[in-house]
């Protein structure tokens, strides 16, 4: 598929996803719209893993922490200084960008496994200390966390109180997500993207070719954290409250696991993974209601773990990677069997 065609398919898919909670009967309610919105937010988290691990080869198990920093900064600014939500969100994203750069500093010396260990430390340290400790109540809002008032832009209500307003938020974040996906796909083939991928394939070779390792590694960490941070800032709006739980260590692990499961080098995998993470537990809960069997949403992690093991043994490139490869094979074969008429025959007279 040509690049343009792929973009077109992506845009159509995005529109379809946007319409689901608006038209599908049974999903036109607060529960499913909220689940859809949360899926998109998880999509931001997984997209940040795609940038950092898929493109640059730096492993991070603390993406939810980046989300959390942005969410708490946004909520603290809105609550303490009554700042406009969008201004506060920009500050939040900047904050997570900065934390990303700081976490990137050890990555200048450490690779692979050891970097993963550092990020586990970051995730747990922040999760248990800065996000929960009452000593940082100015930041994390104390015991109950922050509560977020809704906001509005150009007269459109954005809050999580009724179906219509939540649907507006959903469309807004989906649009932002689409733009970010587009930018990240473009990044892949740009000059910077090539330098980043050179770092992934071999740091020494990249340095020899004149790639400024320090600059590009820190940039990658900052960018990835900022993408996660955008998700975090909108999280406050979708949930209405900000607590440590949605940004815990276990969510960070889920981001990494889902990204690997779906295909860590592919941007569409972020969307698929986000839907998987956001909707699947909801489906399990719904199944529990329909079948009257005890299948709580917490079975999600069990399935995730088992799928991850099976996938690693059978499909090393991730589900999306495998699928994309098969599709390109099929398209190649179709093109061979149905060759386009040669140029000369088309232009006869």
């Amino acid at each position: 598929m040509s690049r343009l065609a792929r973009m077109g398919v992506g845009a159509i898919a995005l529109v379809a996803i946007a319409l689901i909670p608006a038209v599908v009967p049974g999903m036109r309610n607060l529960t499913w719209t909220s689940a859809s919105a949360v899926s998109v937010l998880y999509g931001f988290g997984i997209l940040s893993v795609v940038i950092l691990t898929g493109y640059v080869g730096q492993v991070s198990l603390c993406q939810a922490t980046f989300m959390g920093i942005s969410a708490f900064t946004t909520a603290a600014l809105v609550n303490t200084y009554s700042l406009n939500f969008f201004l506060a969100a920009v500050c939040g994203v900047v904050a997570s960008f900065l934390l990303g750069v700081i976490v990137g500093i050890p990555a200048l010396r450490l690779r692979g496994l050891l970097l993963a260990v550092v990020t586990v430390g970051v995730a747990l340290g922040f999760d248990d200390y800065f996000f929960k400790d009452t000593g940082f109540a100015w930041f994390n809002g104390g015991v109950g966390g922050w509560s977020m008032p809704g906001t509005g832009i150009f007269g459109v209500q954005l809050n999580n109180l009724d179906y219509g307003s939540l649907l507006h938020i959903y469309w807004l974040i989906l649009a932002v997500f689409g733009v970010m996906c587009f930018l990240v796909v473009n990044l892949h083939d740009s000059g910077s993207g090539r330098r980043l991928r050179a770092i992934r394939d071999s740091e020494i070779a990249a340095a020899t070719m004149g790639v400024d390792l320090t600059r590009y590694k820190l940039l990658a960490f900052g960018l990835s954290a900022a993408v996660a941070g955008v998700g975090g800032a909108f999280f406050t709006l979708v949930q209405g409250t900000v607590q440590a739980q949605p940004f815990s260590f276990f969510i960070s692990l889920q981001f990494a696991a889902v990204a690997v499961l779906v295909g860590i080098r592919f941007v569409p995998a972020a969307a698929v993974g986000g839907i998987f993470m956001g909707v699947f537990p909801q489906l399990l809960n719904a199944a529990q209601d329909w079948f009257h069997v005890e299948i709580a949403g917490s079975w999600f992690n069990v399935g995730l773990g088992i799928l991850l093991v099976v996938q690693m043994i059978t499909l090393p490139d991730g589900v999306w990677g495998q699928w994309a490869e098969q599709m390109s094979h099929l398209i190649g074969r179709w093109n061979k069997e149905h060759p386009l008429p040669a140029a000369s025959t088309v232009v006869t007279r």
């Binding site: 450490l110 496994l113 050891l114 248990d128 692990l253 990494a256 991850l308 093991v309 690693m312």
Partner: protein, 330 residues
């Protein structure tokens, strides 16, 4: 995390008392970290898998023991008695250890045997999946509340009437409980025994050979897969022992607290460079004390994990990368 230990240890007030109490709590915690870290180091050295699920494995085995005491023992209806009764505890602990052996075998033959020769990072990500799965299954099966009964090895109510401190050893004005001594002794004995085993026993030498160069070892006819299984079994066993020790000294007993002990164990393993057992022991007690002393001034429950993060950072940045990951079999 160890408030109960400190309260139990601090008989009177005063800074000096508090210092001694924190030292004891820190050493006890350090012994548990050592046990956990030994598992990580051993599994990494022999199989090349950095096990993020070390805490989760110990947590699950511990809960299996808890469930056995809770459900199966004849004394079960009276839980207050069952969790203090030596016979019922013995059955539960034995069950937990047997389960941990099975879990180790399952992980080797069900998962990691099929991932031989894959990059270390891939295997580490798999352990993340194992962690998530174990933690979820545990919270489904055993309940995710914090109100599980702790196992009490030395029940003070069994003391004679005239001596309520029979299970403690006085040091000056201070008393250390038998359970705390037990943790310290068990961790030291296991670490020492394992070091001797790796150095002198035939299987131990084979394990070291497999960790240095798996291909050469298999050319010499060593069953590398079986040796890997042994490493996983020992790793899982020490994880289970660490988990049981942890709840016996009164740490919050839920699926999450026991799972995230892995970050402290990783800090210790980083100090040891993922290789050295003696450094694991020193680092274990060091991290234990380092995480406990700040409690004298700052009573924040989250601070220890932040300290563990700082230890990880410090250990990795001060060490040269060459000395880390010396056993580079993938």
């Amino acid at each position: 995390m160890l408030e109960a230990v400190i309260l139990k240890a601090a008989a009177g007030g005063g800074l000096e008392q508090l210092f001694v109490a924190n030292t004891v709590a820190g050493v006890v915690l350090g012994g548990i970290f050592t046990l956990s870290a030994i598992g990580i180091v051993l599994v990494y050295r022999v199989t090349g898998v950095l096990n993020f699920a070390q805490g989760a494995m110990g947590m699950f085995s511990t809960f299996v023991g808890w469930k056995i005491i809770h459900d199966l023992h004849p004394l079960a209806p009276n839980l207050g008695v069952a969790f203090k009764n030596p016979a019922s505890i013995a059955v539960g602990v034995a069950g937990a250890l047997v389960f941990s052996v099975l879990l180790g075998l399952l992980l080797q033959y069900g998962v990691f045997y099929w991932l031989r020769g894959r990059p270390p990072l891939v295997k580490a990500v798999i352990t993340v999946g194992v962690l998530l799965a174990l933690q979820s299954v545990a919270s489904i099966v055993f309940g995710s509340t914090q109100y599980h009964q702790a196992i009490i090895f030395f029940d003070p109510t069994r003391c004679p009437v005239n001596n309520s401190n029979c299970f403690t050893v006085p040091i000056g004005t201070f008393a250390i409980g038998y359970d705390q001594i037990l943790v310290i002794v068990v961790s030291l004995v296991l670490a020492g025994g394992l070091a001797l085993f790796l150095r002198y026993a035939r299987i131990g030498v084979a394990m070291r050979a497999a960790s240095e160069d798996p291909v050469a070892a298999s050319l010499w006819g060593l069953p590398v897969g079986t040796i890997g299984a042994l490493a996983w079994v020992v790793g899982s066993l020490v994880a289970a022992i660490a988990g049981i020790m942890l709840i016996s000294v009164g740490v919050t007993f839920d699926t999450i607290s026991l799972t995230i002990i892995v970050v402290d164990a990783l800090a210790v393993a980083m100090i040891a460079g993922l290789v050295s057992l003696p450094l694991t022991v020193i680092g274990g007690f060091g991290v234990g004390l380092l995480e406990t002393y700040p409690k004298m001034w700052i009573g924040s429950p989250g601070l220890p994990h932040f300290i563990a993060f700082l230890v990880i950072l410090g250990a990795l940045l001060l060490r040269s990368e060459h000395s880390l990951l010396r056993s580079k079999n993938g």
